[in-house]
């Protein structure tokens, strides 16, 4: 199980993350390929791809604004996704986005 980032395949205007998302995008690719390579061994590979999460990393980010608001996920939102994947015995190679349908807002 890996923690990826929603920005890897769902970029947002104003978030210039092209370089940092190289690794996250690569991680997603590795997860999906490893899931296939180790399928016969019963080993599952999944990733959770959160959008902005209310953590110390984003402590200075505005949580309310007159601008289009990106509602931050909580740590619990991410944990819930990880726990789901850890117990979902037939789910493998999945990149589970936890971003509140961020792209649907089409910034």
């Amino acid at each position: 199980m890996s923690i990826s980032a929603a920005l890897a395949d769902r970029p947002i205007a104003g978030e210039n993350s092209s370089v940092s998302m190289i690794t996250k995008g690569g991680l997603n690719a590795a997860i999906q390929n490893l899931a296939v390579e180790y399928r016969e061994d019963g080993i599952r590979f999944n990733a959770v791809a959160p959008g902005p999460v209310d953590t110390p990393m984003h402590k200075d980010a505005a949580k309310d604004s007159t601008q289009p608001v990106i509602k931050m996920a909580t740590v619990k939102d991410v944990v819930d996704a990880v726990l789901y994947l850890s117990q979902a015995g037939h789910v493998s190679g999945e990149i589970l986005h936890v971003d509140g349908a961020l792209p649907a807002r089409r910034w």
Binding site: V53, V78, V82, L83
Partner: protein
């Protein structure tokens, strides 16, 4: 083995190697001083805690900074204000000068004196140091009670504070079999973690665990009754270890940290897979992996800390253990 464990180790650990009478049997395995004095006359910051009933401790030393009996055995050797050796190897070289140890080490461990076996022998001596046979019986009853609870709805930390003076490192776990002085443990650092080993919990290794999503994952997996190995640069400063939570400080970008995390998971939470059949329901599954008999066993890689007993030996041990428990329980009641 008998020579060292029954007599030689005691003399060696308490008097010769310690370089002092810090754990003098005549003083209840302490030195009787307000603060301990090292080999150079240097006064320490605390008095010497007794080593009696060490096997019940989850953490060791007064402040609990050592998690394994090997640490309690080895750290004073290199502490400049205790035994003052530059390293364990130097202490080994000194020990190797004694003819009795030149003979005893090969007899017990199958090889000349070395640091690993030195620490293991001292730690095993700690394990054999109990206040009375009554505690063994008390421990057996406690163990049986925990077995019964583990099959129903077992509370996390429910056993009574029982043995000796209370302190921060005091634990109340009991593995009675470890009282036997002629058995050398192969996996001493896991002695205090019966909680995870006895259950069918899964284990999660969580990196970046000191804050943010990682810390949340630790909390979430613990709530879901997982065993957790948490690692980050300074995770031990941010989280508190527990029977279900092991903390591994280190940079996960370095392979050694990953190895440590996996080894910690195996050591603390690996399920015993050796004994089978009906005995699995009667015995603590961690029991066999906590020690092994008749060192060394050719062909077995001790570094991976697998259960070291042969299945046939496990079955024999199981029969012996059941008989002994019934006998002890009968005499206690």
């Amino acid at each position: 083995m008998e020579a060292i464990c029954a007599d030689g180790t005691k003399k060696w650990a308490v008097q010769t190697v310690a370089g002092s009478t810090r754990h003098d049997p005549a003083r209840a395995f302490t030195d009787g001083r307000p603060v301990s004095v090292g080999v150079t006359g240097c006064e320490g910051q605390r008095n010497a805690p007794t080593i009696l009933n060490s096997l019940y401790n989850l953490a060791l030393f007064w402040d609990g900074h050592a998690k394994a009996l090997e640490d309690q055995a080895s750290l004073p050797i290199i502490n400049p204000c205790e035994m003052g050796q530059p390293n364990v190897d130097t202490a080994v070289a000194e020990i190797a000068k004694f003819p009795e140890y030149q003979q005893a080490f090969p007899k017990v461990f199958g090889r000349p004196p070395n640091g690993t076996d030195l620490v293991r022998a001292i730690a095993s001596y700690f394990l054999a140091s109990l206040t009375s046979s009554q505690h063994k019986e008390q421990g057996i009853r406690e163990l049986e009670r925990q077995r019964a609870l583990s099959r129903t709805d077992r509370p996390q930390r429910d056993t009574p504070r029982a043995f000796g003076r209370s302190r921060c490192s005091q634990s109340r776990r009991a593995i009675v079999r470890l009282c036997q002085p002629l058995q050398i443990r192969s996996d001493i650092s896991s002695h205090s973690n019966q909680e995870g080993c006895m259950s069918d919990k899964k284990t999660a290794i969580i990196t970046g665990a000191s804050q943010g999503i990682g810390a949340g994952l630790v909390e979430g997996f613990l709530k879901e009754a997982y065993n957790v190995v948490a690692t980050s640069l300074e995770v031990s400063h941010k989280l508190t270890a527990s029977p279900s939570l092991v903390l591994v400080d280190g940079d996960i970008g370095k392979q050694e940290t990953a190895v440590k995390a996996v080894e910690a998971a195996i050591q603390r939470f690996r399920k015993h897979r050796c004994a089978g059949g009906e005995h699995r329901n009667l015995l603590d599954q961690t029991f066999h992996r906590l020690y092994y008999r008749g060192l060394p066993r050719p062909g077995l890689d001790q570094s991976v800390r697998i259960p070291l007993c042969h299945p046939a030996q496990c079955e024999a041990d199981a029969e012996t253990e059941i008989g002994e428990r019934r006998e002890h329980l009968g005499s206690a009641s």
